[in-house]
Amino acid sequence: MKIIVAIKQVPERDARIRIDASGKWIEESDLQFALNESDAYALEEALQLKEKHGGEVIVVSAGPERIGSTIREALAKGADRAICITCDDLATRDALGVAGLLAAAIRPENADLILTGLQSEDLGLGQTGVIVAELLGLPHATLILHVEKTGAGVTVKRELEEGWFQTIELPTPAVLTIQSGGNKLRYATLMGIKRAKTKEVRQLAASDLAVDSAPVVLLEQVTLPQKQKSTQIVSGTPKEAAAALVEKLKFEVRIL
């Protein structure tokens, strides 16, 4: 099986977020970045399918130069090669503009499966995989926890709301967006990190891909959310705060 995994580099989960001077995005200069979590699960699913059925796992990512570190991490975990689409305007492209870049890079590979995480932790659009499928003219399924290869395609386990699931059969080639939690994630081994250095990373410039970057929806401004409730912050040492909270649970909330 030839499997492509589209991955995104996103700010680390615990990163302190500051709005930048333009008011349109966050200050990135002092941020640490990491592999988007559901993309890590997509990569894991691809690596396990390759271990079972053979084939090749190729990661593709778009973004500024810093994404190289995330691509190397994916190679160290076991991807065979990578396609790196360098573009500095990722933040001003809309979902169609980003999916267009990925689809243009993916199309010539003629892969059997294209996997990606169900949504990014920064923009949280949850659309990229579905639009890539649309642009490539392929069937898709979303929120997938498990993939089983069959004769003519794949059978997948899809998560529904409130603890329900559903099985879907798709012919391949197909696009799947992967939900977190379906597998246990692997760590890169020392050997993997060493090997990653010799693996092929094909560099593409966004400008080479002839994809329209003019957005049809614009992110105009980012702001800090307003509090919905006035929170009473209980302060003091841990012991003092705990004692004060118990008082409140007893006399204000009345559950003790």
Partner: protein, 325 residues
């Protein structure tokens, strides 16, 4: 025709609550723009739902009916709605932001050269649409600049479903039969199933101690288990804890787990991403313990302790035990 079209989902033969919220959002948008609002119901048998919808204050109801539209498939819904939208030419198309809509609406918008503005929590003059970024740490405001219809989906709970007044005059109902060929539906969907019998009913729990990523390791779970035991509370968790197998899936609270509304929800090391909040924001009292003062959980907490859970939680367990004697 310029106007707002709202796409209504059914669940177990009824119009879903989230769809009523989408109708409210569409009416809000229609009032703001001075445009009529129509509702479309997609399925194989939409008669009863269309009649119910027609009693609400909307301009008209469209039944998009075809035998191939049940069960749901992304291919079928995308084809059917594309044909309707090209026919009716609405200027805005509104959905509820459900798993099903997330499965096909981005493809539908892309097929028409547009981009869905998903998971909208507010609509201001413009129209300007607000959605959350970075797991709820920021809000972003979006504007549609394309020349075709503007597609939006609204977050569950963001708009209040209207209770019907006296039945307004029945809105006209019309039928639309899309042309769909069986070969165009490329996926085969099985019946929904539950993974295991649910033995933990968090929905009826009065007190819940819930643990998130901040707990760092499976071996730290006993710290929160002890607090839950001292309080006589059920132990629950956010998704990553169950993904890692540190607690069973049936203890998960959130959009993919259980929805709870206890008297006390004590969130420990939970940042408060929207997927978690939708499962617990009906709690009467929310207490959050988190080391990050900017964590979104504090936006909905009644009481908060900003601090290291590994120090605060054992102290709280001791204080609860002492209070209970």
């Amino acid at each position: 025709m310029s106007g707002v079209l709202v796409i209504v989902d059914q669940r177990a033969g009824r119009i879903s609550r989230t769809s009523w919220e989408a109708v409210a959002a569409a009416r809000h948008l229609g009032a703001q723009l001075g445009l009529p609002v129509s509702a479309a119901i997609v399925g194989a048998d939409t008669g009863a739902l269309a009649t119910e919808m027609a009693s609400r204050p909307i301009a008209n109801v469209v039944r998009i009916e075809h035998p191939l539209l049940a069960p749901y498939s992304a291919d079928g819904f995308t084809l059917a709605l594309q044909q309707l939208i090209e026919n009716e030419r609405p200027t805005q198309v509104v959905f509820a932001h459900t798993y099903q809509v997330r499965d096909y609406a981005p493809a539908l918008a892309a097929r028409m050269g547009q981009v869905l503005i998903g998971d909208v929590i507010a609509i201001a003059e413009g129209p300007v649409f607000t959605r959350q970024l970075l797991q709820g740490r920021l809000n972003g405001t979006y504007r549609h600049t394309g020349s075709g219809p503007c597609f939006i989906s609204v977050q569950a709970g963001a708009f209040r479903a209207e209770t019907p007044d006296e039945p307004a005059s029945q809105a006209p109902i019309k039928n639309f039969t899309p042309s769909i060929d069986p070969a165009q539906i490329r996926t085969r969907l099985g019946e929904p199933f539950r993974a295991s019998s649910q033995t933990v009913d968090l929905g009826s729990a009065q007190l819940i101690v819930s643990v998130g990523r901040g707990i760092k390791d499976a071996e730290n779970i006993p710290i929160v288990q002890e607090l839950a035991t001292a309080l006589g509370a059920e132990l629950a968790a956010s998704r990553p804890i169950c993904d890692n197998g540190w607690l069973p899936m049936e203890r998960q609270v959130g959009s993919s787990g259980q929805t709870v509304s206890p008297k006390l929800y004590l969130a420990i090391g939970i940042s408060g991403a929207i997927q978690h909040l939708v499962g617990m924001k009906g709690s009467q009292c929310v207490v959050a313990i988190n080391k990050d003062p900017d964590a979104p959980i504090f936006e909905i907490a009644d009481y908060g302790i900003v601090g290291d859970l590994f120090e605060v939680v054992p102290a709280l367990t001791a204080a609860v035990k002492a209070a209970k004697g």
